[in-house]
Structure formats: structure tokens, C-alpha cells
Symmetry: C2
Subunit: 197 residues, 2 copies
DNA sequence: ATCTGGCGATGACAGTTGTCATGCCCGCCA
DNA sequence: TGGCGGGCATGACAACTGTCATCGCCAGAT
């Protein structure tokens, strides 16, 4: 099963994989919601999931599949090698993590290995995931930083989160410290770049 | 000729296109610099260019091809339907503009039409490009906004651009007004989203 | 029983940001 | 020749932002 929002990429990968004798694309979907529903029906052997999807993310799909299609092995195929993504993907039960930067030839190989029960993870990425350490933000700090993404003022953030302005500022200040940023915008950028948002 | 930085997508598209009887992939590259050099040697009939590339952008490649491979028709194939991208692509001499959201089947069709001398542009995108109007920023405002992307303070921007702090603030203020933003960060986001950066 | 850490809040402070009025210099165009 | 717009600058002002000290509450760990 193939889940990828860009129709053209999805189509190209689908026909590519169909050329392999031992691989059949039983479903290809463009949204996470559809993917979970379809997986429940089809019960595929392997699911290839992009992370950035409209609606629910590939990570969330992976988590949902553990109950919706328990025998289905999950491999994440994504654009960005964000360390936090790898971490969360593995936590969500993924067996493989492949970058779209990798040559196509690796795709079929990786699928077979994942299907056989192996774990397939870019070793370089695994290393940098370890080096980055893990997300140092508390849940509240997360929420505040999330909300800060759309460039609202402190006052608006406070309103949206039902907090005092001072509290919002305190949380943001803490986040900026923890991430070593110089201001709010940079903090958002750093967190995004590490896959913590 | 196929230019796309994500190796896996590039590979998938290459084999896909190779399946067509009347299409041959004479070169596939992952960077704009290599693409221009290769095009000069190979002189392909059609070039498919992604916009977001490491180093020089697909738009710049398109412009370079008008002299490096004058007989080559250019089609942009990109993820984002930013109105400004379309505008600039056409200005740079592109004959086609296709989104990766489009179904694969359209790809070969579009290539043939572009090769035949037609223009191929998503009509919906063309419309929204007209509605957005064009980039209202002066060159200087552009530069300042560009520099502001990496979350520097006004003082640092001023240093980098060899301007007074007040001048930088004035330019930023003007940009914020023109784009209808509420602050610097939002201004950057709006400009990026419209393809003006 | 105490300590720790997350969460919320306040008040104060310095620093940064966005705005505005105003001025000067240039090049372009009518 | 004058007018207009872009670019650069200054100074002033209000608003916003980031930091810090300090407080209270609560839950989980030692």
C-alpha cells in the first residue's frame, strides 16, 4: 500500500513497483484518513507512508495501523531526514525509514527486507538522531511553540491558549533558552528542522 | 532531460517515462549547475525542471537554457503552485508548468504538447496568479526581506546589508504594510507562500 | 516527609520592533 | 523644469518581546 499526497510521485512509484515481479501495489492513497480505512479492508503486507500529508500525518497513520492492520509492516518514505521524525516513526511502530534522496533501486530492496521482518534505517540518520538528543520541550512548551508558528502576538497566543500573557512569554522564553535560539522565530525554525513540531 | 533533486522521485519518473515509446530520458540530474552543463552537451528536446533545487533554482536553469540549449523546450514540474513561481517561470522562458499534484498520466501528455510547441499551464493556477497581482516589493525591500528570513535582529540585518538600522526598519515596515502582514515573520511567510522570495 | 519539576501567574526591566514625520539625494519621465 | 518614486537616513514614540525574580499549586519520586 502506497500513501503519498503528490499524485504524480505516487503514480510514478506505483508503476515502478508494479514492474517488480514479487511486488503488487494493492492500494495507493493520497490522504492519511483514507489510508487507514483502506488498510483495514485490504490488510496489505507492507505500507509505504509519507510523513507530510494533508490531515493526519504519516506518523499518526503508522500508529493507527498497529491496530487497524496488525500484520502490516510500515515503512516511512519521506523527504526530510529530521531526527525527530525517525524517533517518532519508530515509536509509532515503523520498521523502516527511507529518504526520498535515496536511489530508487533501494526502494524495492528495502520493501523486501521490511517484509521479511528486518528493520531498515539509514544508519547516518540514526546517528544524527542520537546526537541531537531528544525533544527537551515540555508538553505545554510544545503547545505554545506550535501556536507561535502562525506569527501571532503574545496577546493573541494568550487568548487562544487561555493563558495569561506573562505565562506565554515565560514559556516562550524557556523554549528559546532550551533550543539556543535568539528569538521566537528562530526557535520555531529550529524545532521544525529537528522534527519536534 | 530530467532535473529533480530527490533521487528516488527522479528515478521513478525516469523509468516511468522510459516506458513511453516516443520518449527517451537522455539525462537525469540532481542539481541545476550540472543540468545546465549537461544540456549544453546533450541538447535535449525537452527539459523537465523542478524549482526547489540545491544551488541554483529551476527558474534560473530555465533562463540559462535559453542560451545553453536554445532549441530545448522547458517544462517546470514542481510541488508548490505559488503564483509567483508561474509568473517567473514564464518570464524565464518556460513553455509548461505542471504540479506534482497532477496525475502521472498527464506528464507524458504534457511533454508531447510542449514538444509540439504548445504552452501547457494549469488554468486554475494561471487564474490565481492573475488574481494575486504581481510582486509589489521594490528590489531593496526584496533584499531586506530575504535577509530577514533567518531570524536576525535589525542590528544584524543592518550590518549585513551595510545600511542604517533605521533604514532597515523603514523597509521592513513598508513590506509589512504592502503585504498586509502583522509583523516581520508573517511578511516573510506571505511572500514565500506567493512565490515572491 | 521532603524534594523536584511542570504549570500558571505577577510585576518589573531592558531591549527590540513597527510606525511616523521629515529630510536629502538621485534618476526618470512628462 | 518640475514632479514622482526609490533609496537612505534621523529621531521620536508606542507597542511588543525576552528575561528575571518570585510566588503558589500540584503530582510523582526518594
Amino acid at each position: 500500500m502506497l500513501v503519498e499526497d503528490q499524485a504524480m510521485v505516487r503514480g510514478a512509484m506505483a508503476t515502478l513497483l508494479s514492474l517488480e515481479d514479487d511486488i503488487e501495489v494493492v492500494a495507493d492513497l493520497g490522504s492519511g484518513e483514507h489510508a487507514v480505512a483502506e488498510a483495514r479492508r485490504v490488510q496489505p503486507d507492507v505500507a509505504l507512508l509519507d510523513i507530510e500529508l494533508p490531515g493526519i500525518s504519516g506518523i499518526e497513520v503508522a500508529a493507527a495501523l498497529t491496530t487497524a492492520a496488525p500484520s502490516c509492516r510500515v515503512m516511512i518514505v519521506t523527504t526530510f531526514g529530521r531526527p525527530g521524525y525517525l524517533q517518532r516513526a519508530l515509536d509509532a511502530g515503523a520498521s523502516g525509514f527511507l529518504l526520498k534522496d535515496a536511489p530508487v533501486e533501494e526502494l524495492a530492496v528495502a520493501i523486501r527486507r521490511v517484509h521479511a521482518g528486518e528493520r531498515v534505517v539509514d544508519p547516518e540518520l540514526a546517528l544524527s538522531a542520537l546526537q541531537e538528543g531528544h525533544d527537551p520541550l515540555t508538553t505545554r512548551e510544545h503547545e505554545v511553540l506550535q501556536a507561535a508558528r502562525d506569527h501571532d502576538s503574545v496577546a493573541e497566543l494568550a487568548r487562544r491558549l487561555h493563558l495569561s500573557e506573562g505565562t506565554v512569554r515565560n514559556h516562550l522564553s524557556a523554549v528559546i533558552q532550551k533550543l539556543g535560539a535568539r528569538n521566537r522565530g528562530e526557535a520555531v525554525a529550529i524545532a521544525e528542522q529537528r522534527g519536534w513540531l
